[in-house]
């Protein structure tokens, strides 16, 4: 069962009604856990078995660590989770790259449990928090629910137990939760099934980002590469931010507030700001549990830069063991370091650039870098990425497209519309104080949601798959 299926549309209301009928906290937790395990088991019983083992072992490791929070005990827990992730996520890929016969047969045939990277990072954050002597006392049911909670189990957001535990104990949805939850779900469905789908698959066969990257064999012009980078950046954003909206909205129906995962990342005016707006739950996880402990290990400035590059490479590696992800991470780290150097130079030389100009220039540099770095992330291999970058510096190729004109126009329209909507939203926020304007917003909402629902229904004939499920 996935979040776009009709069965999910039945599953959520049934669990919601049942949880309204059960008054005791423990009873509700058991219901949610059973619902989560049922949801996960619809993917595969084997996946559920791995999740169960991870939950029980991590719970036991947490208790062992709580009795004596030493670094040695923490490393036992970290080691277990790295082993689990390595075995199920990385080993099968390496085994394929090595070719048959290099590993025992059962290791070559392992299947990647969907969401394993997300819930393993949640388990790790629990162990780190116990080591930091946070006051956490989950029961086994609560801990298992934390890892398996069905809205987040497939693709996050990567949650933290200190935020969820009080909510598992006291969540009581009010009317605002329901309306906000439904609004987020509709918005998420629109982003995912309409916008991301249009960019990914195009409107006709032979169009779309996927076709552009997979089918055009080394024939890209510089203009094609720019459009593909733009298209893929927005496809990823609408796909994953849309998914996150559906997840956050579903949890909100039950009175649970999850952490946000995206906050208008393409409006960022620096790379440091971008990483506080894009896949925030993972970005903050890396900051809190990898970068800060590593960067403060040695006092030298070069070490901090090195730690940042390592942390961002880990961010890339989290997506998979492919060299494209690791190089993408290293590029992000280098860009962050370069931005830091620029900031320090600005302070040292006491350079005063007008705030408006600095914001525009910062936005343009950040946006262009992020889009171009998506080429490395999305390319099927490094050779393809290199070919596409070569096309970028062939200036004679900018006067024509290999991509279909429909797709080029659609990508530009969607990108421009994104910035227009972001601008209008800011304007609307400023105008909210004016009562007449808030009435206009109230009157327009049903029209906008009806249009969104209609386009969701029309586009749902295409089979949509979440890009982030593969991680």
């Amino acid at each position: 069962m996935n979040l776009l299926s009709l069965s999910y549309l039945v599953f959520v209301p049934v669990v919601w009604v049942l949880s309204r009928l059960i008054r005791s906290t423990r009873g509700r937790q058991i219901l949610w856990l059973a619902a989560s395990y049922f949801f996960y088991a619809t993917w595969s019983l084997k996946f559920l078995a791995v999740l169960l083992v991870s939950s029980v072992v991590n719970y036991a490791l947490g208790n062992y660590l709580r009795r004596k929070p030493t670094a040695g005990r923490l490393w036992v827990g970290v080691g277990f989770n790295i082993l689990l992730l390595g075995t199920f996520k990385y080993l099968p890929v390496w085994s394929t790259q090595l070719g048959p016969g290099h590993l025992p047969g059962f290791l070559e045939n392992l299947i990647l449990p969907v969401g394993v990277s997300f819930w393993t990072f949640e388990a790790l954050s629990y162990l780190f928090d116990v080591y930091r002597e946070e006051e956490l006392d989950p029961s086994l049911t609560e801990f298992c629910l934390y890892l398996a909670f069905w809205p987040t189990v497939l693709s996050g957001p990567v949650c933290r137990l200190p935020e969820l535990l009080p909510q598992f104990r006291n969540a009581e949805p009010v009317w605002d939760d329901i309306t906000e939850g439904v609004r987020r779900i509709i918005l998420g469905l629109f982003m995912k099934t309409v916008l991301s789908q249009m960019l990914g698959a195009g409107l006709r066969p032979g169009e779309g980002v996927d076709f552009g990257f997979n089918q055009i064999a080394h024939g890209w012009t510089g203009a094609d590469v720019l459009i593909l980078a733009l298209g893929f950046g927005f496809q990823m954003y609408f796909d994953f931010a849309g998914y996150s909206n559906i997840v956050i909205g579903t949890a909100r129906l039950f009175g649970i507030r999850l952490r946000e995962n995206f906050r208008d990342p393409f409006l960022s005016t620096s790379p440091a700001e971008f990483w506080t707006r894009w896949h925030m739950s993972l970005s903050f996880w890396i900051r809190d549990y990898v970068f800060l402990p590593l960067a403060t290990w040695k006092p030298q400035v070069w070490w901090r830069h090195f730690a940042l590059i390592i942390a961002m490479m880990l961010f890339g590696f989290w997506h998979g063991p492919d060299s494209t992800y690791i190089i993408w991470g290293a590029l992000q780290g280098l860009f962050l370091v370069a931005h830091r150097q620029y900031q320090q130079l600005e302070r040292r030389t006491n350079t005063k650039i007008p705030a408006g100009l600095a914001s525009i220039a910062g936005w343009a540099v950040t946006f262009c870098f992020m889009l171009l770095s998506w080429v490395v992330f999305r390319a099927n291999d490094l050779h393809q990425a290199a070919t596409m970058f070569k096309a970028l510096v062939h200036f004679s190729g900018y006067h024509h497209f290999v991509l279909s004109r429909n797709f080029v126009a659609m990508t530009i329209v969607i990108a421009v519309a994104y910035f227009m909507v972001a601008g209008l939203r800011r304007l609307a926020d400023n105008l909210k104080q004016v009562p007449a304007m808030s009435r206009v917003g109230w009157a327009l909402s049903p029209l906008m949601y009806s249009a969104a629902m209609l386009s969701i229904v029309i586009m749902s004939i295409h089979k949509a798959v979440f890009v982030y499920l593969q991680f």
Partner: protein
């Protein structure tokens, strides 16, 4: 301690805050408000160890423990060990 808190507050306002011109006090939320980035957090950590003359185990610290200058010093007091 008051001197050290003042020195840290001035250092953050002068060297680390993203938005120039923002008034920083010892109670201003820094991490949760987005006024400082991860790099600045590390620089604050190093400065905190110097000002308090304590070794602070980084793995035991969360960004929320460093959200205001007052919280930083309380955290250093709580989990830092005096340097020999």
């Amino acid at each position: 301690m008051t001197e050290a808190i003042k020195e840290m507050t001035d250092y953050i306002a002068r060297e680390l805050v993203r938005r120039p011109g923002v008034e920083i006090t010892s109670e201003t939320p820094l991490v949760s408000s987005g006024l400082i980035d991860s790099f600045a957090l590390v620089e604050i950590f190093v400065k905190l160890e110097k000002l308090t003359n304590r070794r602070i185990p980084a793995a035991k610290i969360q960004p929320k423990d460093m959200d205001t200058v007052c919280l930083m010093f309380a955290t250093a007091e709580r989990i830092g060990k005096p340097r020999q």
